[in-house]
Symmetry: C2
Subunit: 200 residues, 2 copies
């Protein structure tokens, strides 16, 4: 970066570690932050620390929450006969935006990926089976992404669930292949839930 000053270079370095920020975008952000009023900068830094400190995982579904249980698990109007299994918390947000689903969720926090050393033990699978023992769920809807890892995880999970006799379905292939759940449009997602097909 040529003649760059250390606190600016350090901020640039920190911003570059965030996803989707290349060197130039990170530098633009760094310049913008230095140009903002001190009060705004303090609020940004504070929002980062507070979010990290106060947001944790729901004790039931492992979605993000600021309380013990998330709003969805706490909501008595949700259909407790269905548990929708997703990879990450943003996927819950995406599903909720689609308004096509009124059941509960279970967030795996990852997806099986042998190349990255992520196997079943790194996912919240044990916790899902504990829920199935104690809760009144009748159906598990697997809504992992429809890329290679998401499909592999879905197959693996379906096989594990088979002996339990519980109904297992996979969201329909309305989701474009290779597509990311987080960025799907609402109609596609709603259709995908509507057309889910039983796989065992």
């Amino acid at each position: 970066m040529g003649k760059i000053i250390r606190p600016l270079a350090n901020l640039h370095d920190r911003l570059r570690r965030l996803p989707g920020l290349g060197s130039k975008s990170a530098m633009r952000l760094a310049y913008k932050i230095i140009d903002m009023p001190m009060e705004e900068v303090e609020r940004l830094a504070d929002a980062i620390l507070v979010a990290k400190r106060d947001v944790h995982l729901c004790k039931q579904c492992y979605n993000l929450t600021a309380d013990e249980y998330c709003e969805i698990c706490n909501d008595v109007k949700r259909d407790r006969s269905m548990i929708c299994v997703v990879e990450q918390p943003p996927d819950v947000t995406a599903m909720e935006r689609s308004q096509g689903y009124k059941g509960l969720y279970h967030v795996l926090h990852g997806v099986m990926s042998p190349l990255d050393g992520i196997g079943p033990d790194q996912l919240r699978l044990k916790e899902l089976f504990q829920r199935l023992e104690t809760e009144e769920a009748e159906e598990v809807i697997i809504a992992t992404n429809s890329d290679v890892e998401g499909e592999a995880t879905a197959s693996y999970l379906a096989q594990l669930l088979k002996p339990t006799g519980i109904k297992v379905s996979r969201i329909a292939q309305g989701l474009p292949m290779g597509g990311d759940l987080e960025f799907a449009d609402e109609l596609t997602l709603a259709q995908a839930v509507e057309n889910r097909r039983r796989i065992c």
Copy 2:
């Protein structure tokens, strides 16, 4: 954002104020930050605050610096007979990367934009004229952007400088290096023809 938790919504809101971050990118960043180890998050927040606190404007050229004067103004090897006027600090970085200029700079911190209520008084123009009185500059190179505001600012500045008798130049406009004639816009091409230089 549907059922979103307050600290997360607040972080999302703060990130959205940064340039180039839409709602979805800001949410991806927010989720990523919550997913980062606490130590990494603290370092990010700290880098933001330290950069804002320690980086300020060079007393001579108004570029960013962590000291009283910036590295360029302090560098005895720079050619003090030339002052290159740019809009913003990142423009200095861009010029330095090009390695095509060895003089000093003057950062206006803006550009004239009547629609945004930015007139000459909001720019570091007075400071430029003070420099011309006390320093040994013989030429001012105006390197504002070549958009409407940049051109207007360049014309205005050139008129102000005329009575001083100092040499004033404007960086050349034409086809970018490696640029394809077929894809150049009409204005650029017209400028490139207008500013043609004889080669034999």
